[in-house]
Symmetry: C2
Amino acid sequence: MSQMARSLAEFQQLIGWNPQRMWHDFHRQCLPQLSQKNPSRTESRLATIVEATFTLANRQGFHAMSLRQLSDASGMSLGGLYGYFASKDQLAASIHQFIRYQFEQVLLPLIDALPEPQRLDAICRYHLYLSELMQPWFFFAYMEARHQQSDLRKQAIALSERVDVELLLALNAHGEVQEPIIAVGLLKHLLQGWYLRRAHFQKTGVDVDAYTDYLLARITLFCHGETTNDRTLAAL
Amino acid sequence: MSQMARSLAEFQQLIGWNPQRMWHDFHRQCLPQLSQKNPSRTESRLATIVEATFTLANRQGFHAMSLRQLSDASGMSLGGLYGYFASKDQLAASIHQFIRYQFEQVLLPLIDALPEPQRLDAICRYHLYLSELMQPWFFFAYMEARHQQSDLRKQAIALSERVDVELLLALNAHGEVQEPIIAVGLLKHLLQGWYLRRAHFQKTGVDVDAYTDYLLARITLFCHGETTNDRTLAAL
DNA sequence: TTAAAAATCGAACGTTCGTTCGTTATTGAC
DNA sequence: GTCAATAACGAACGAACGTTCGATTTTTAA
């Protein structure tokens, strides 16, 4: 059984993550809708296009990004883009699909392989680490999810609820959870904070390891905390 | 000196909030760009239009919402809408401006009037309560802020940083804050969670009073918590 | 009741959007 | 170097966008 990773570097090594491999996986996922034959060139072009999509869409919104802007930013002609995706909507759908794939095929199996007492720690750490490695993807997925058509949105909700269940089970393994509905929601919200508030953390010099350690050290306090009046604001 | 409100109902009474008065204030703020003369009719039409904007924009994004959709949803003709705002961008700008106005003219004065020991509690409570009363406004402001033009965005950032300072000062009044940058960011993020995850809380039956009490009871634990190994996950 | 004022309407305008497609340039095997 | 095969190009298209404006309806006050 594999050891748990306790830092970004360890996690990266554990799953063998690097950008090249990520784009390779992404390319493989996009194959059905691609009209290109040369794999290696296609991989690097896909990376250019999707990275340009992130810089534009994560600033101004995917819907507000025009294909002419994407054409300029990626250095590729308007018509040339269509060799790499079937439509603008399909481009967004591929991104959403890939991040769901990463969750289901990479994160969840890693967590399932661990004994239950370690799972809460692992879910949080691995979520934070993966969202650090793929921050633009996570940000895009969060911000654009509600603009997707209903079947893709439903799949995202289903995955989200699966994580909720995992979190609740893992939390319960550490003792009775007070107000479990609020606790689980808050915990996931705190994990999302890392990639949603990335600019803030970058400006203030907080890295993912510091954030992770800070958070994990307080999670059990937060969720199981038997708050006594003299330690809470309510006493004022 | 006024007493602090400890529930949504008390807060609502304290600031004398009701929808009618809110739309009255909003109308007054919009006056400069309005071509309409009859105040009472204009107030109700504005309410209809802005509420329709929220239902459409908060689902699919403001940019993706067409004025033809807004025309249908508000029961007003395409040209008729332009009696109530100068342009589509101005409509969004008015909403952003109004929520900033509520923050600066309603929330901050209330907090400044309180003695320092009560301020942390008040900032959190009042932020949560106001965001409950005006949830669609807060959600809209959060989601659409990055699509605004730069001067409006800068004003929003300035206000956000002002809240950060208030939070940090208030936190410090309760003792030395460990990792203050992370703590303040997280605290604000938790406050935002209430209006960002509204659908989730509505589905699970959590109301703002329960959320507020849960949060406030754990804030000092979270921010000042001297975490010992036997109470944290790191010990596993 | 009536006429001026105010408000509403929706067809039409110019622009920009996503997308297509015939043409041109590039690539790779011999 | 030649020639298919592949990829990239960008002008052009129809649709949809935000906006305008003259005609029409509703409101207001005498």
